[in-house]
């Protein structure tokens, strides 16, 4: 059977048209942000520079793509339509008359739909892993910088130990099918996922310990929600069956958190050492505040600027790491639509077909670029103050 093709112009128009929910959401949100930018603080200031607008725009574009993935993509990312094997961009699928906008890959799946669904995987794992790495880094970095001494020596030694591992070696050791038979990933998950609960409990305890009415509500909420997610993620025993993660995804998640939390630790430690010499810290010490109150409510808020910038860069870096994992076929399922796996599959066949390779590469690059632009403009804005 002969496959029909549509013209290049139709492909461009068609792709832009498929993204319609994204454009609508983008226009609404960007318009609203632009109108009220004076009232929006740091986020509003981003709209003062071209770089900032570009950064926010690209990041939001991929965010909305991930949210509306099922509406945007014409096909199921795993569905194989055998006649469309290695079809060129713009091929019309004979039965449904829908179009393979970016062609088909070697397993006859729609490259466009896979790219769109790939954004979901990246936008769930990368920010979440960065969030956990931030929690671990902050909870350990604050006391290391504030107390110094033995705690600092030990924690810094451990952080340098992890940082001295080349990332790729770490992944080859930690993300293997064999390691999931051992308790190591679960033990590490159990350790890392404890940090957010500790962090928020201490945060509320130090602030409200003299106001039991607020304290008990906040602590109770932290422990219930945190404990529920903890049980779901680490033991996969969520009683309500809502929180669930595949063992191999947990493995990746833990490895990524493990690889990036020492970096956060170093930054937080450095910032704490700098800020603890300020007058307001001395004032709090004179008032008799507890060390953890000073760390969490005096030092941490004043370190937020560099931390936000670092978080943006780090999400981008985590995206690159996920791509690396996919590229080496570590952890993620072989048919998973994430960008790294797609790049790996396509780059083996570059000599014969180039069209399956370009969409995931450009997607990954543009998302990381957006995050870097965002971080750059955040840095510029926070330096102005």
């Amino acid at each position: 059977m002969q496959i029909e093709y549509i013209s290049a112009f139709d492909v461009v128009v068609g792709v832009l048209w498929r993204f319609w929910p994204v454009w609508v959401a983008l226009v609404l949100l960007m318009g609203a942000s632009f109108t009220y930018k004076k009232k929006l603080g740091l986020y509003g200031q981003l709209f003062d520079s071209g770089v900032g607008i570009a950064g926010v725009g690209i990041c939001l574009f991929w965010l909305f793509t991930a949210i509306f993935a099922s509406t945007i993509s014409p096909f199921d990312p795993l569905a194989q339509v055998s006649i469309m094997k290695d079809a060129l961009p713009g091929a019309v699928e004979p039965t449904t008359k829908l179009i393979y906008y970016f062609g088909g890959d070697k397993l006859a799946r729609d490259v466009f739909s896979r790219m769109v669904y790939g954004s979901q995987i990246v936008l769930i794992i990368a920010p979440a892993a960065t969030g956990f790495a931030l929690m671990v880094g902050i909870t350990l970095g604050l006391p290391a910088g504030y107390y110094g001494g033995k705690i600092d020596t030990i924690l810094s030694f451990l952080a340098n130990l992890v940082l001295a591992f080349p990332v790729i070696l770490l992944f080859y050791l930690l993300v293997t099918p064999g390691i999931m038979d051992t308790p190591i990933p679960y033990a590490m998950a159990g350790l890392f996922f404890l940090f957010p609960i500790i962090f928020f409990s201490v945060l509320f305890w130090t602030r409200f310990k003299n106001r039991p009415d607020r304290l008990y509500i906040l602590l109770g909420l932290t422990l219930v929600i945190g404990g529920w997610i903890y049980v779901g993620l680490v033991f996969d025993k969520d009683p309500l069956r809502i929180v669930h993660i595949d063992p191999n995804q947990l493995n990746i998640f833990v490895a990524v958190v493990f690889a990036s939390s020492p970096g956060v630790f170093r930054i937080v430690r450095g910032l704490t050492m700098d800020i603890k010499t300020r007058d307001y810290v001395a004032a709090a010490q004179t008032r008799g505040e507890s060390p953890w109150y000073i760390m969490l409510w005096e030092i941490l808020p004043n370190a937020r600027g560099p931390l936000i910038v670092d978080a943006c860069l780090r999400i981008g870096y985590t995206t690159i790491l996920l791509g690396t994992l996919g590229y080496f076929g570590l952890g993620l399922a072989p048919e998973s639509p994430d960008w790294g796996t797609a790049i790996k599959d396509a780059s083996r066949l570059l000599r014969s077909f180039i069209h399956p390779a370009l969409p995931p590469t450009i997607a990954l690059m543009s998302f990381v670029l957006g995050l870097n632009l965002l971080a750059d403009s955040l840095r510029e804005q926070s330096m102005k103050d």
Partner: protein, 344 residues
């Protein structure tokens, strides 16, 4: 200064000991050993035979005893012939001794590669040489270009050159090797046909045709980062009092930049370039796999994929050593270059 270096070397040795212990532990996890036994014995062996093979070849000894043997603190035991009960070579292709000998890393014996059927040293060191060549060309391309971009951008902060070059360097830091590699291959190998998309032939002889793509791919990710650090350092130097004085006494802008600003602005990038090595190592692995260049990264992937315990340990040792030694050089070099910093 000497005591500082000595103390750092001590920490380095401790770090390497801890890291090799961790790597040793992770490689020798039971599932990995099982896979090794399956790949080393004939097809369709029963579970007991696999277990026998592991016991025979000493993989079931106490963990710390095995680590000591690998280090060279304890004598390495030969395997026992299951038929006769006499000692035999563990791996005949490595010419292992038949009596217990002290032969570990400390004695210069890195062990035996089960995948390549040869000693680790004879596989690892040629591969390192090949990667060294790649690294040399990458640095030769990356360092001058990134310093030039950084200086041009930081010379006049906020100018149009600065904006353009800054966005370009941000874009380059957003392109990991597996992305730029694919894009460059598509452009230069598939469309234009100027360059070779595979560097497999580079082992026989380097040519512009087969080696440009790997070098370009590896250089581009680091370039942006070094350029941005250079720019930041240059911007800071250009606001200093002595630059203003030099301008006010009537020197031309060009000569102020070259004679007064440049030397001070290059201190920070030196550290950054040195600390790029851990990143370059990951890049080397990706690029060597992508372009099929038989170097260190390729060896590491082969070793990891085939549970080649000794080879992977050797690779980890080398890469951890490179990371730590570059950190040391960057610290010492920084103290030398910057007269304001004196190490206690």
């Amino acid at each position: 200064m000497l005591s500082f270096i000595l103390r750092r070397l001590g920490t380095m040795a401790l770090t390497m000991l801890c890291l090799t212990l961790i790597v040793f532990f992770l490689i020798n996890l039971n599932p990995n050993l099982k896979k090794l036994a399956i790949s080393q014995t004939e097809m369709h062996t029963s579970a007991e035979q696999l277990e026998d093979w592991l016991v025979n070849h000493g993989y079931r000894q106490n963990f710390f005893a095995r680590y000591g043997q690998w280090l060279g603190l304890l004598p390495k035991q030969p395997a026992t012939d299951p038929a006769t009960g006499k000692p035999m070579q563990r791996f005949s292709f490595c010419n292992d001794p038949t009596e217990p000998t002290f032969s570990g890393v400390l004695q210069g014996d890195f062990g035996c590669s089960t995948k390549f059927k040869t000693t680790v040293a004879s596989k690892l060191f040629p591969a390192l040489g090949a990667t060294g060549l790649l690294m040399f060309w990458v640095l030769a391309v990356m360092v001058p270009i990134s310093l030039l971009i950084g200086i041009l951008a930081g010379m006049r902060e906020g100018s149009r050159t600065d904006r353009t070059l800054s966005v370009a360097s941000i874009a380059s830091t957003a392109t990991p090797e597996y992305v730029s590699g694919v894009i460059f291959t598509v452009i230069f190998a598939s469309w234009l046909g100027w360059l070779n998309g595979s560097a497999a032939s580079a082992s026989q002889g380097l040519t512009f045709y087969n080696f440009t793509l790997p070098v370009m791919t590896l250089a581009i990710y680091g370039t942006g980062y070094i350029a941005r650090m250079t720019r930041a350092s240059m911007v800071e130097v250009m606001t200093q009092q002595y630059i203003r004085t030099a301008r006010l006494k009537g020197l031309s802008f060009g000569s102020v930049v070259v004679k007064h600003a440049l030397r001070n602005a290059l201190i920070a990038p030196f550290t950054v370039i040195m600390l790029q090595f851990p990143w370059l190592l990951t890049g080397v692995v990706i690029v060597e796999v992508m372009f099929r260049y038989q170097g260190f990264g390729y060896t590491l992937v082969e070793a990891a994929g085939n549970n080649d315990i000794d080879l992977l340990l050797g690779c980890s040792l080398v890469s951890v050593f490179i990371v730590l030694i570059t950190q040391l050089i960057s610290d010492v070099g920084y103290a030398f270059l910057n007269p304001r910093i004196r190490v206690q």
